[in-house]
Symmetry: C3
């Protein structure tokens, strides 16, 4: 089944006079908006006093939108509990790692472990689902908003502590088992009772990494459980509607696959310029891409969230202009909003929904641009949206979903693990995986970003899993059986699930596959490069391992100091350091060729993405690019052989056209 | 009325044996000191136990100073409540934004909103005013000391919270009005009662800017009210004495004009080297001026505080040597103390008072130099003071006050606003206004720094108001009627008084004057420069706006990308970005010529200031400068045609001399 | 008496199956380990529930080690109180300066002032000492572990506050005396009762430096007292065993000499790579020495702790590979571990003990390498230890102790003082003394690092004491009588013991010796250099003083601006600024020649240390070095005339050989 690709917008009727609504709806339709998200921060208007529901206005707004031919995704308002509710149960506030309460006055001021608050959420969600679950305008639901935003996954409250004790008791059953798993004999950390468990904050020096990992797993589970309660209530009262949540970018504090498993589809909020500014890229990189964003960041998340939604996903909030929350907030380049939108459609998004319809003149986000200025005049993205809507119609664009031959693993527990124990202070799992993603994409490949699940290994030509925290035997077996070329490392399999070094030494259960043992590791300060023999410009930086080859393994690359840099055993490779771009490029060209994958030699700043039979080409550079070699004699549905800066081209792939 | 310009010194008799006092007084007189400030930290000596007043020593000190012919400014000791008082009411401690109490052990450990402490202050001030209000030595009073120093304007205590609720109730009357003004519908922040108002700290993410702005206004009002209580008590008991407060540099956390309105004159504490070290200037700049200070920082504050004192002002604490509180504390260049002193007199100071008479060998400021070493030997500034006193006498120097043809607006609410919402993390209102001030001063102009009050617009040739937060119609009208050339922007009028974007779009009520609308804004990371067409070297950085010209407006300058950089409608100009020095210089030369103001082409590092008929010239450079073109054939009262590094020259202005 | 030099290792039998112990012991002996430290974190195994002692396992481990011929140093487990104990008295937690408790979950979670906890320590130490005090395997005891690690000397708890009040009462007897000593008249800080004393945290601005200094002295005294309780108990029950404590590197938060005075010998934990990474050296320096460490850091500490142990000392924890706690953690260069070990033996260490036997696969230090990998295979240092053990035997190496002709003072109170009042934010007493140490060592000298005690002055050729906080008349007298050339300054004698400027001006009681007065001081931002006349490349940076010469003193060096840089009065010199390496090198060459000390012209990166008749030579460079000039015709016991990178040579000194 393929789905027509459409545009959406985020709208806040409660923030504008009722007299605006009909004209707003009319203009949305006029420019080709199909779906509208509303309601997700409106609790104080839906229930201004306890139990005093005020749903009339929402019914009115739905009616107006519906009449205008718009579909609605309705948000639950649980990200913004109103003041009367907070005052009723002040201990619902999350506590920071410093022990200070995180107060009312913005949003997300709730602790995921507070049962009292969870019951209030049940109540408001049920009331809304009963009232509007079968409303003809309502085609979908969004649970809450951006779980975890502003560092809110972890709370150090009494509620969280008690829930964590319960979680540990359920997981370990005996304190002996817990003490063993955590290695609590070290530093006399042994506990005699589950009621002796503390949260891992405010310790004199670093807490036990096993303790931290379990706390992060627990905190992630609390998000999953919180979300599931809403999903179940909505399913009961709103049959046939897609339930989704809007995830974020560069965010790994809970297991998004697990939350996604309870949803019908995934969504994420894509702010290319804000995310670039917040990234750890160099100042030079940030300045170069200041008006267009990192060419690979959005694509990575599109592929990741397509996976979280098991094929179904969308962009819920698309940056339409300057935002308010970056360290600096430039206006996007002309063409940037269109390019971003097509990157999402190229990766199979069902909807790209702009945030927001009209710039609010008040409160925290008043400097966040929308399709309209605060005075309702169109801003630039208003016209861009209209243009795209027409193009989509003309192209009959549809979201396609097919397994890509290349799979890159991204694993939330690994993100937890390496945040807990970077060992070198700038080690970042997200950056490591991103570097692999970028290198693959620069070679013209369309990739699946997948969880490290056995079933994801099948039918691949190549599987890449850098930094995968813990090996599981069934995953190793699935890799072995897949027939794919497999590239692991660095740090892959270097811990057990309990955050201990495997007694067989790293890479643990991957060892039999790879035929190597990692005896020693080192992290290296910035500026230190360990050159790779016979690959000029290639080096390790930041991280390097000392490996011993088993009998069936051989050295495929070595460092200048003689240590093995890449081992090979059949089609299983282990990379024993953190590669620079030159090393990754050379290595992946070699391995992809061996795996039989098609590489495209792209000019710098050109990117390619396939959606079903369609191939999209994007220009992230500042000069026009000649893409005739890429397109061959294909007929362009969008653009042409010369691609302007910010330009988008689309054509039918030859293999599909034939 | 003009007033003889004199020297003063800060003195702490309570810190020295009584046997020192007479000799100290004699030496003060000998070198020409006229005024002595005493008493402002002496509470523990004035009232060592509750209600047990010990005023004899102070009476003795006053007597000795009086007999030596010295005048006294008496300070109220309320900046340093003693331990017994703090222990009586521990909740008088200010709470930091992190919720932690700010304890006894240094100074300013009180919350401005604590009524119990305010009553204690009433009591000690009344006791002092009764005892010494009509003492013949006492010519003036200083309230408290450096309000707000060490970030003490804002407190997050219960007392502050309750007072803020009361303040809001008084301002808004209904929660509906408050919710509307703050835009609390956003994120369900609506409040049902004034008792639901929280202080804007410890929120999960940023608080509502309107909430913050009102909290800053409230906090500023609390300082005004605290000061006014003391002023009213002193006025009752000490008729005819000038009441002042010693303000600080680069400090904008309360409205100094409002505090000044209750005073007879303003004073400030001028520490050029400490302030330079604390500034955001480049390391290169800081190193270049490490022994002399920023050539324009002191002058800006002189002009600002002259305005706060409605013409009457002084320097209460003049840096006399190395201080203890900079990140690094160099010894001033030989001549620096003299230059600083004359910069103040050139700007109309009535008194320049050195801090302090003798370096204390103990406690927090023991590394702060004075006129004397701790062992009573003269330090360098002792001789400098003596030299200046003789020169002042010879020159018959008098403080003059006249309206300058050029007015530059500095507004405390704008400082609050842009601190709350810089939008680009390095945006600084203070730096923006300072850049305009510096550019004007480098063109040889003497400037008034003024509040954005309609009555300040009259009689000017040119009015400059960069970054003025909110437009008021009566201010726009006053500008229109003034006949002056007016230069506004960037960010001028971009908010309503409630911190919302004006529905007519920025520049709000300035729009009809300027004929432009600001549709979009952007902040830019360091290193990004938007060049200005036809002005080589000129650019915007950090901030840029996209403006639409109304029918009567025209583009006077454009960016290289075609956006308007400067608009003109009649004699009203709007600058739509943050200018670099080259742009400011070129722009101001052009506009000042048009306004008919006289520009002087000064060599680099030379500055000029007029005080009545006298023109002063200062050399902040490291080489002697030839100032004969500036002086023409004038007769020098100080210095001559060649001005040494740190040199000061003074002569009668030709236009005055004729 | 000289003592045979031996190897040791740190071992945690409680962390491994009992079945491992015998084989571990056998392998230890096999490679030549002689001493094993055990037990120091094992409280939860020794007393798993309150009063339920479980000593059998420890008895078993001792028995096995003893039978294998190993000697044991037994650690008291007081650095890691178990959870049941902490839960019994939650107020035993130290409080941070921010007022937050420092919780259970790692180690050192106790306040030194908590009497309840101290009694628990008495109890467990007594039980252990009774049980094992006369065990034949036990040759020594270690009290606690790394006092002060993780910033735990100072606690801001109620227990600490009450103890500090008592300490102040005992020191000052009257509040008048305290107020006078602290200069509390300043800012009305006067106290009316000892119960009004607060701890010097959370003050609005900086606390009184005298208050801070006394708090640091008090906190140091609490460590001394805590340690002494354990020492006394152990002495009672374990006659003839050496009691030591393992101190740390670059750590000055308590007086180590005072703790050492209660011990039989000192020990320290030497982690050259971790300490380098944590130091304030430049990135260039850190990268250059990333695999070998600072060539002078370890040596300085060897000399310092030899002094703390009054001649008897050892390395308790020697880094054997990569560690886990640096910002980055490289693997040491091949040869580095051997070089480090011999640096310690060259400085007279009795034992060098590796940390740890086997890498733990779990908990906080799982990335800390040991002699064995987690799977019991040998890691590199296992073989290195074996090699060294054989060499030691062959050399019959013995720890020698003799007074060096050059003494460099290191004083903990001075470290407290300049941390309290750096005056320039990068001023560091530790760095200042280290620079002198490095300069002396680069000239081939073996040095004693000594407390500023009169008895340490005797028998020296040269005494150096930069930055010595307060002069004592008896120290000045001892210097005068020593006949040594004495070099003091900068900042020497600049405070009284109460942290006031001496009324005679600095250098206080050193003034009569030196014939100078310091009238002014300045700190200078990085990049500012005050050149020294006639010494190209030499300059002051960071700190400079303006001194007046008395009649008998003369200027030996001057700054380019004419101020005196070095004064001389007979054989007493005062250096009035912070010297760069070039200045120190030139100055020390001149003064050492005058003092009659032998200088060796060492190639860069070569260092020399004498232990009794043996001279050791070390190569910290990356190229082989020719040391034939240093060795002359001596017979090498280790190495030879060409010294490889990381190489060690040893030969009998000619003056000894003759």
């Amino acid at each position: 089944m393929t789905i027509k690709q459409r545009l959406g917008v985020c709208y806040y009727p409660e923030q504008w006079p009722r007299s605006f609504w009909a004209e707003d709806a009319r203009r949305m339709r006029e420019i080709g908006i199909a779906v509208v998200r509303i309601g997700e921060f409106a609790w104080s208007r839906l229930e201004p006093r306890e139990g005093f529901y005020q749903f009339d206005w929402l019914a009115g707004a739905l009616e107006i939108l519906h009449r205008a031919g718009l579909e609605v995704v309705l948000g639950t308002p649980t990200a913004t509990p109103p003041k009367w509710l907070v005052d009723k149960m002040p201990d619902m506030a999350p506590l920071g790692a410093d022990g200070a309460p995180r107060k009312f006055g913005s949003r997300r001021h709730y602790c995921f472990s507070h049962e009292g608050y969870a019951r209030e959420c049940d109540r408001i969600v049920e009331a809304l689902a009963c009232a509007f679950g079968e409303h003809p305008a309502v085609v979908g639901w969004q649970t809450d908003n951006e779980y975890g935003c502003h560092d809110t996954v972890e709370s150090y409250s009494i509620a969280a502590r008690d829930a964590f004790r319960k979680w540990c008791r359920s997981k370990y059953e005996t304190t002996e088992a817990l003490n063993r798993a955590w290695g609590n004999v070290f530093w006399s950390m042994e506990l005699g009772s589950f009621d002796e468990i503390e949260l891992p904050n405010l310790t004199v020096t670093e807490p036990n990494p096993s303790h931290l990992l379990d706390f992060k797993r627990f905190s992630s589970d609390q998000v999953v459980a919180f979300n599931r309660r809403q999903v179940e209530i909505i399913r009961n009262h709103s049959p046939g509607r897609a339930i989704l949540h809007n995830f974020m970018g560069a965010f790994d504090a809970f297991d998004h696959y697990a939350v996604g498993a309870d949803l019908d589809m995934a969504a994420w909020d894509s702010y290319p310029l804000g995310f670039l500014e917040r990234s750890r890229h160099s100042d030079e990189f940030k300045t170069r891409y200041m008006r267009l964003g990192d060419p690979d960041f959005q694509a990575f998340h599109h592929d990741l969230y397509r996976s979280c939604g098991r094929g179904r996903w969308q962009v819920m909030e698309q940056q339409p202009g300057a935002v308010n929350w970056g360290a600096w907030n430039p206006v996007p380049a002309p063409g940037a909003v269109r390019l971003w939108t097509y990157e999402a459609f190229a990766a199979g998004a069902e909807v790209v929904s702009f945030f927001r319809w009209r710039q609010a003149p008040f409160a925290q986000e008043q400097m966040h641009e929308g399709l309209l200025l605060p005075n309702s005049e169109p801003n630039e993205a208003y016209f861009v949206a209209g243009e795209i809507a027409q193009e989509l119609n003309r192209m009959e664009a549809r979201a396609e979903s097919a397994r890509a031959p290349i799979a890159l693993a991204f694993d939330y527990e690994s993100a937890f693990a390496w945040r807990i124990q970077p060992q070198g202070q700038d080690f970042s799992y997200f950056d490591l995986v991103s570097a692999f993603y970028r290198a693959l994409r620069k070679l013209g490949l369309s990739i699946d970003v997948v969880p490290p699940a056995p079933e994801e290994m099948k039918g691949r030509k190549m599987i890449l899993a850098p930094g995968l925290f813990a090996a599981r035997p069934e995953l190793a077996a699935a890799m072995a059986q897949s027939g794919a070329l497999v590239l692991l490392g660095p740090r892959s399999g270097s811990k057990t699930k309990d955050f201990q070094i495997p007694l067989a030494l790293p890479p643990g259960d991957f060892g039999s596959l790879l035929g190597v043992k990692v005896r020693r590791v080192e992290s290296l300060r910035p500026g230190v490069a360990l050159a790779i023999r016979d690959l000029p410009g290639a080096h390790f930086s930041g991280w390097r391992e000392f490996i011993a080859l088993g009998e069936e393994a051989e050295a495929a690359l070595c460092c200048e100091d003689g240590e093995v840099a890449l081992s090979r055993r059949d089609n299983f490779y282990y990379l024993s350091g953190n590669p620079n771009d030159e090393l990754l490029d050379a290595l992946l060209r070699r391995l992809l060729a061996q795996a039989g994958a098609d590489i495209i030699d792209l000019p710098q700043d050109i990117r390619v993405r396939d959606n079903g039979p369609l191939r999209y080409v994007f220009n992230y550079g500042s000069e026009p690019a000649d893409i005739s070699e890429i397109a061959g004699d294909a007929v362009f549905l969008l653009g042409g052989k010369t691609l302007d800066p910010c330009g988008v081209a689309a054509f039918m792939r030859k293999d599909e056209a034939e």
